[in-house]
């Protein structure tokens, strides 16, 4: 360590100082002294020949302690070798420049503590050679501000990429590295184009230029959607926000980037859902319209078709009453046929209307005591049966969940059929029972010992207007079983039949367990 008080040195320095004083004008002196930055002037050997008051303040030395010292006194020891090299290089080609751009420069105080600095150099021509004037700025605050800023970016939920005016990436946070799959070193210093698919790069350029003309904050969701490209080349839809950032070094643009693949997928699903719902609503409306039409149709049928029938019936009857003598047996027979056909048509219309009504009427299901229902129906049938020997056997029947009015219709039709087709049997035997084995959840069965039918034609059994027997043998419209099938199907069950000609027939139907009944109210 030089002792500035040593005489030899004193003389050398003193002489140099004089020289400088001569070289450097009074004004320059005043300027240097009053400069806000710390200014140190060194000679080509790196010896400090001039310092200003800021240097004293910044480094904690008195002026006298520094004059004549090697400049390395202000540099942390580990950088001394490097610094000396830089010094030599500088004096080879001294120019005005910032020192060590991109390097982390540090100054060392008298107490040994270090602080980050920014240094700029200017050469000074003197008669004794070139001097280097360096201005030194303590950038501790800026460094900590930068550190705080970086910390903020790291804490941000989104990926944040910051570029300068030329589109070069200057800052990325970890989220951005993870999102795009890069290392920090691979992104910082490179063009933002790296993160864009090729086909968008030109367009992005245009947008960037336009943005720089009028930079302002643009939040997400303002339609700034585009595709971004990961390191592996894969693309993803992204939503970005832009914020301009004024810095001493120029304008920076910060953009937060969000991968919206999931959100787009969800939106698409929602749209699809809405479209589906719209379609369903449309279909439902169509169905309701069709139902209304059917209702109007049934209504007019019920009125308009019956009146002419009544007329045919009525006037036919009147003819016989008033003009009995004018008829011989044959003409009378024709007349009777006309009237009976009209009557038959009336029955047909009633059956058809019942069938149509059953197709659209809402079901009101509740628990039904099936055994009681069957007994009640049989009691009513007794009147129709009259004197005929008909034996009814009603086994214990489990209750079920059904619309009692239409369920009644099922049993009525099946039992009426059994009564009809056992004509000629003495006694007619009709059994109503529960067969647990007939179906997975069991089934109600109605068995009779009547004429039965040929199983070969059983497929048509439940069709509308389909009959197994000729109408001169057994009357009927052929709608009864179609009605049975309609009702059972609407409850979610099945109906089928088994028969043997001249032995009898068995009709069975299921009703689903309570929880599964469709069309149920409430």
């Amino acid at each position: 360590m030089f002792n500035p008080a040593s005489t030899t040195h004193d003389l050398g320095i003193g002489r140099l100082l004089d020289r400088i004083r001569d070289a450097v004008s009074e004004t320059m002196h005043a300027l240097v002294e009053s400069a806000p930055d710390a200014i140190v002037i060194v000679d080509s050997d790196g010896r400090i020949v001039l310092v200003n008051a800021q240097v004293e303040r910044l480094f904690g030395y008195t002026r006298d302690a520094l004059l004549g010292q090697s400049i390395e006194i202000l540099v942390p020891e580990r950088f001394h070798a490097q610094h000396r090299t830089h010094r030599f290089d500088y004096f080879m080609a001294p120019v005005v420049r910032a020192m060590g751009v991109g390097l982390e420069l540090h100054g060392r105080r008298q107490d040994g503590s270090e602080f980050p600095v920014e240094i700029s150099l200017s050469p000074l021509e003197t008669e004794d050679g070139v001097l280097a004037m360096s201005s030194i700025r303590d950038i501790s605050e800026r460094k900590s501000a930068e550190a705080r800023f970086r910390a903020l970016l790291e804490a941000a939920p989104d990926a944040v990429v910051t570029v300068d005016e030329s589109g070069t990436i200057v800052l990325v946070n970890t989220q951005a590295l993870e999102l795009f799959g890069y290392e920090r070193s691979e992104l910082v210093g490179n063009s933002i184009d790296l993160l864009l698919p090729d086909r968008f790069q030109n367009q992005h350029h245009v947008h960037r230029t336009a943005y720089l003309a009028t930079p302002r904050r643009r939040p997400m969701g303002v339609g700034l959607d585009l595709f971004a490209k990961r390191k592996d080349g894969s693309e993803f839809p992204a939503e970005i926000s832009l914020s301009p950032l004024e810095t001493p070094e120029g304008l920076l643009v910060m953009s937060a980037i969000r991968d919206i693949t999931d959100r787009l997928r969800a939106e698409r699903a929602l749209l699809l859902n809405e479209q589906l719902e719209a379609r369903v609503a449309e279909r439902t409306a169509q169905l309701e319209a069709a139902n209304h039409e059917l209702e109007a149709f049934s209504y007019s049928v019920s009125h308009d078709l019956r009146a002419p029938l009544r007329a045919i019936n009525g006037f036919g009857q009147i003819l016989v009453e008033d003009y009995a003598d004018a008829f011989n047996p044959e003409s009378r027979r024709y007349l009777d046929l006309m009237v009976s056909n009209a009557t038959q048509m009336g029955v047909l219309i009633d059956d058809l209307l019942t069938y149509a009504r059953l197709s659209r009427q809402p079901l009101q299901t509740r628990e039904v005591d099936t055994t009681a229902l069957v007994h009640a129906i049989i009691a009513d049938l007794r009147d129709e049966i009259g004197d005929r020997a008909v034996e009814f056997i009603v086994q214990p029947l489990p209750s079920c969940q059904a619309d009692i009015l239409v369920l009644r219709q099922v049993f009525v039709n099946l039992l009426q059929n059994a009564v009809k087709f056992t004509r000629g049997r003495t006694p007619a035997m009709i059994e109503v029972a529960w067969d647990a084995a007939a179906a997975p959840d069991g089934a109600y069965v109605v068995r009779d010992n009547g004429v039965g039918f040929d199983m070969q034609y059983a497929g048509k059994l439940f069709g509308v207007f389909q009959r197994m027997h000729r109408s001169d043998a057994f009357e009927g419209t052929g709608v009864g079983l179609a009605i049975v099938k309609r009702i059972v199907t609407r409850h979610g069950g099945r109906v089928w039949a088994d028969a043997e000609p001249n032995v009898g027939a068995t009709f069975a139907f299921t009703l689903p367990p309570a929880e599964r009944v469709p069309d149920a109210d409430g």
């Binding site: 209504y299 019920s302 009125h303 009146a307 009544r310 009525g314 036919g316 009147i318 009557t343």
Partner: protein, 153 residues
């Protein structure tokens, strides 16, 4: 064949179907129900008669029928509207109105009673049953039933 008596009527038949009119009148005739039956071919004619309007202006409005047989599906003004009008007017309010119609639709039945019909009969297709129905209606409302004494002759 179908005339409208200019005097009092016992029965006002409101019906547009000619066959039904003929069959109904025959039953009344055959069973000596009444010689004074008026036929209105649609709702407007019926109300004109009852309220002494139009071609029936000048008729004594207090002279109301003992029974009105009302079909529902009529041209111009339909049966339910006629019923509503009959039940709104103080003079005709208490006259028995039997709805006789082909319709078995629930909504017609419900609405008819809501509007104050005294009875609702579905016209049978079978003539024997039809005859029986008309006969019973005539017997009940003209002979058995006590008409409201508020009606002044």
């Amino acid at each position: 064949m179908i005339t409208f008596p200019h005097g009092s009527v016992d029965i006002l038949l409101v019906e547009d179907n000619p066959s039904d009119i003929e069959l109904t009148l025959r039953v009344f005739r055959k069973h000596n129900m009444s010689n004074h039956v008026g036929v209105a071919r649609d709702g407007v004619e019926a109300l004109d008669y009852l309220f002494s309007r139009g071609e029936f202006a000048g008729r004594n409005q207090a002279d109301v029928p003992k029974l009105i047989l009302l079909d529902l599906k009529l041209p111009r003004l339909d049966g339910l509207e006629v019923l509503r009008a009959i039940r709104t007017d103080p003079t005709t309010q208490v006259v028995p109105v039997v709805v006789m119609t082909s319709s078995r639709e629930d909504r017609d039945i419900v609405e008819s009673y809501n509007l104050g019909a005294s009875s609702y009969i579905v016209k049978p297709v079978d003539f024997d049953q039809f005859t029986e129905a008309v006969r019973q209606i005539g017997y009940y409302w003209l002979l058995l039933n006590q008409p409201p004494s508020a009606v002044v002759e």
